[in-house]
């Protein structure tokens, strides 16, 4: 789906009929929205029906990932309080496809967000490294794991993305040198600002537009502020099979988490700093204007306001390197048509065509007479 469709609402109420009817391969149509309650039992009947559907859908047998009995150790995260490290011995499970790092001693190490997420989902239980018998409660985990002020914001964003199916890794600055390209501006053909433009003779508007352009693009590289509070936090990939966490491809998105209580909207330096580090997949479109709209470097900022978060996407674009939007062709097509109407006979071409037509008429006549 196009990103331009973002504006549609994503917090619709679950229609349980959909879940039910998937069983009999029949997707129901959603009705129109009613704005006021009706008298009679029409509304309550519909509500009851929907409720029934929900209960029925929820009654289905649950399939989860509770740890297999007898294999609890494979799902036990050992927390070392001194090093703030998390690991599982001989870990096993689907979640390892996109989480954790296994070393030579069969220990899989997790970051704190990964560990907390696994605990919160009920996939794993957590104990202290030294004491294998005491399982920490979820509340205890929040206290001992999320120690930094910004951790809770970052964790909220992390778990939200994970629950949406994304693959999320903490951002490690990829040491890939990004090429900086400079677009050379054609030096102006006329120094038009010395003499009024109409003193020159032009044969198309593109040249005039180019002459009007000021030399104000790509001239100096904006040096990113070294101490910007804005940093990239997570690299995010769309859900995919065969994801290689050891050598991941370029991320689809990169996310910076910002608490709007502490920071104002990023300044030009901040944005340049963030975009200077960002390195995501770009899919250039065949439509040049949509390339303008999606830009060359992208960063997603998750703004957190007391636990509520919104995502915004900032992309650097460059109207100058795109060139002119005006096309001389817009005029050409129309003019030709207009010319044909106005001057049908003043053209050598029409002379030729008149002669050719009369010749054809002649041959046709001869042809029709002969037989």
């Amino acid at each position: 789906m196009l990103e331009s469709d973002c504006d549609a609402s994503d917090d619709e109420i679950q229609d349980w009929n959909v879940v039910l009817s998937l069983a009999d391969q029949k997707v129901p149509k959603r009705g129109e929205k009613d704005y006021e309650p009706l008298e009679g039992d029409y509304d309550s009947r519909n509500l009851l029906e929907a409720q029934g559907a929900m209960f029925q859908a929820l009654e289905a047998k649950k399939r989860g990932f509770a740890c297999n009995i007898g294999q609890e150790l494979r799902y036990t995260i050992r927390f070392n309080k001194r090093n703030q490290s998390f690991h599982i011995l001989n870990a096993q499970g689907k979640f390892l496809d996109s989480m954790g790092k296994t070393d030579g001693n069969h220990k899989t190490w997790f970051t704190k967000f990964e560990a907390l997420y696994l605990i919160e989902r009920g996939t794993c239980r957590i104990t202290y490294d030294e004491d294998n018998n005491y399982t920490l409660s979820l509340e205890e985990c929040y206290t001992v794991i999320l120690t930094d002020d910004e951790d809770i914001d970052k964790y909220n964003v992390y778990s939200h993305l994970k629950r949406n199916g994304y693959i999320v890794l903490e951002y490690a600055s990829l040491s890939i040198e990004k090429e900086t390209r400079y677009v050379n501006i054609d030096k102006n053909i006329h120094s038009v600002y010395d003499k009024p433009l109409f003193k020159y003779t032009f044969t198309n508007y593109s040249t005039i537009f180019c002459n009007l352009q000021l030399d104000i693009y790509n001239r100096h590289k904006v040096s990113p502020a070294p101490t910007s509070p804005f940093e990239i936090c997570f690299s995010v990939w769309k859900p995919q099979v065969n994801f290689q966490k050891k050598s991941p491809p370029l991320p689809d998105f990169q996310i910076s988490v910002i608490n709007i209580e502490n920071y104002n909207f990023p300044t030009l330096d901040d944005i340049s700093h963030l975009l200077g580090q960002a390195n995501t997949i770009l899919k250039p479109s065949r439509n040049p204007v949509s390339n303008l709209k999606f830009g060359k470097e992208n960063i997603i900022i998750a703004t957190v306001d007391h636990g509520l978060f919104n995502f915004i996407k900032l992309s650097r674009t460059n109207f100058h390197s795109h060139g002119l939007i005006w096309e001389d062709g817009w005029l050409k097509r129309k003019q030709r048509r207009a010319k044909n109407i106005q001057l049908p006979n003043s053209d050598w071409k029409s002379w030729v065509s008149t002669i050719r037509n009369s010749l054809r008429m002649l041959t046709l006549r001869c042809g029709s007479v002969e037989p």
Binding site: M1, C6, S206, K293, I325
Partner: protein, 377 residues
């Protein structure tokens, strides 16, 4: 877009050019091309429209001049019209001086009149729909499901028909429903004051320009504003505070930037932004971008919460299917600015204004909302 209209808007800038015919491999076409060039070169006339400045308003008056400015890049706004200055046309038609069709039977409608007719059609449709919805509700409460289905079907047909109607040419619509062509209408007392003689009325409308537009016309195309020179005009636009971060100069940088890349730039106040960018112009398509001009630094004591402001604007802009563009203008140092300004005041030529403007720098960013649930695939 009718043929007449695209012919009317064949100048994106207030300047005439030589139209060369298509050159092919045929040598005769080269001669034809050369001949056409020479012929048009002799005919080529440039006219510069002058602007009046009074009471803080940049004006162009006179029907001919207004059209000249509007038709060359959609600059300005007719103060008694929606955008294109059409007050004279509309009033003449209202007073029965002009027919609805020209000699060849072509419909002569202004934008405002088109909108009015379409809105009336829309109103009729809404009334019918309301009626059907009332019936629907009635059958819902009585539990008469067969009648409910019938009415719902009728409603669906009505909505389908309306879609067809929206695509129907205005000409047919008017022929069917309106018999207003050239009717002599009632005149009010105020109307009678308009008449100069039997067939002519006074033109009360003028075209108002934004300061950026006035400076653009003057700077690039040599339009005179009263008898100001370029520096005096610049001072006037800057509101006499010649500072490096004057908001006018930031706006002008952005206006000039997009204008010189072929975009049609109009005011964006309607959608909470500074400018709107049209690919070719308002008669051809909707605006693609809404531009918000940003300074490169912010006063630390700014009271407003920018996160909220920009989010609000992005919602408005997104709601009308436009893309929000944040355009940052980087300012030069105060010294560099003062130096260029002194040069400009000594020789108020376009060349020295250009040197001043080229001290600035532009960065552009797209701002859009991002939803995890919509970007998975």
């Amino acid at each position: 877009m009718s043929k007449k209209q695209s012919k009317q808007y064949d100048r994106p800038l207030p300047i005439n050019i030589i139209n060369l015919p298509v050159v092919t491999h045929n040598p005769i076409s080269w001669i034809w091309c050369l001949g056409s060039y020479v012929k048009q070169w002799f005919q080529l006339k440039q006219s510069v429209v002058d602007i009046q400045y009074c009471d803080g308003i940049f004006k162009v008056s006179g029907s001919h001049y207004m059209n000249e400015v509007w038709n060359s890049g959609f600059i300005g706004k007719g103060i008694l019209s929606r955008s294109e200055p059409t007050w004279l046309h509309r009033t003449r038609r209202r007073l029965g001086l002009d027919p609805l069709f020209d000699e060849s039977g072509r419909l002569l409608l202004t934008n405002e009149e088109t909108v009015q007719i379409r809105r009336e059609e829309r109103k009729k449709f809404k009334l019918k729909r309301e009626e059907l919805e009332a019936q629907e509700n009635y059958f819902k409460t009585t539990g008469d499901m067969t009648s409910l289905q019938k009415v719902t079907k009728l409603k669906r047909i009505l909505i389908e028909d309306n879609k067809q109607l929206q695509r129907k040419p205005l000409r047919e619509l008017i022929m069917e429903n309106y018999s207003v062509a050239g009717d002599k209408k009632e005149q009010t007392r105020a109307d009678s004051a308009l008449f100069i003689d039997e067939t002519h009325i006074k033109d009360l409308e003028y075209l108002q320009l934004m300061p950026v537009e006035a400076l653009f016309l003057s700077f690039c195309f040599g339009s005179k504003v009263n008898d100001f020179d370029l520096f005096q005009l610049f001072q006037l636009c800057m509101n006499r505070s010649l500072e490096v971060d004057n908001s006018f100069i930031l706006l002008y940088m952005v206006y000039h930037h997009y204008k010189s890349h072929g975009w049609c730039v109009k005011s964006g106040t309607k959608f909470g932004s500074d400018f709107l960018l049209y690919r070719r112009g308002p008669p051809f398509q909707h605006a693609e971008f809404a531009v918000l001009v940003q300074p490169d630094y912010k006063p630390s004591d700014s009271p407003s919460n920018e996160w909220i402001d920009i989010s609000a604007i992005s919602r408005v802009v997104g709601g009308v299917n436009k893309t929000l563009l944040l355009t940052y203008v980087t300012q030069p140092t105060k010294d560099a600015f003062q130096q260029a300004l002194t040069m400009f005041s000594e020789s108020p030529t376009p060349h020295s204004l250009r040197n001043l403007l080229e001290l600035y720098h532009i960065d552009e960013f797209i701002y859009r909302r991002w939803l995890p649930s919509r970007n998975r695939a």
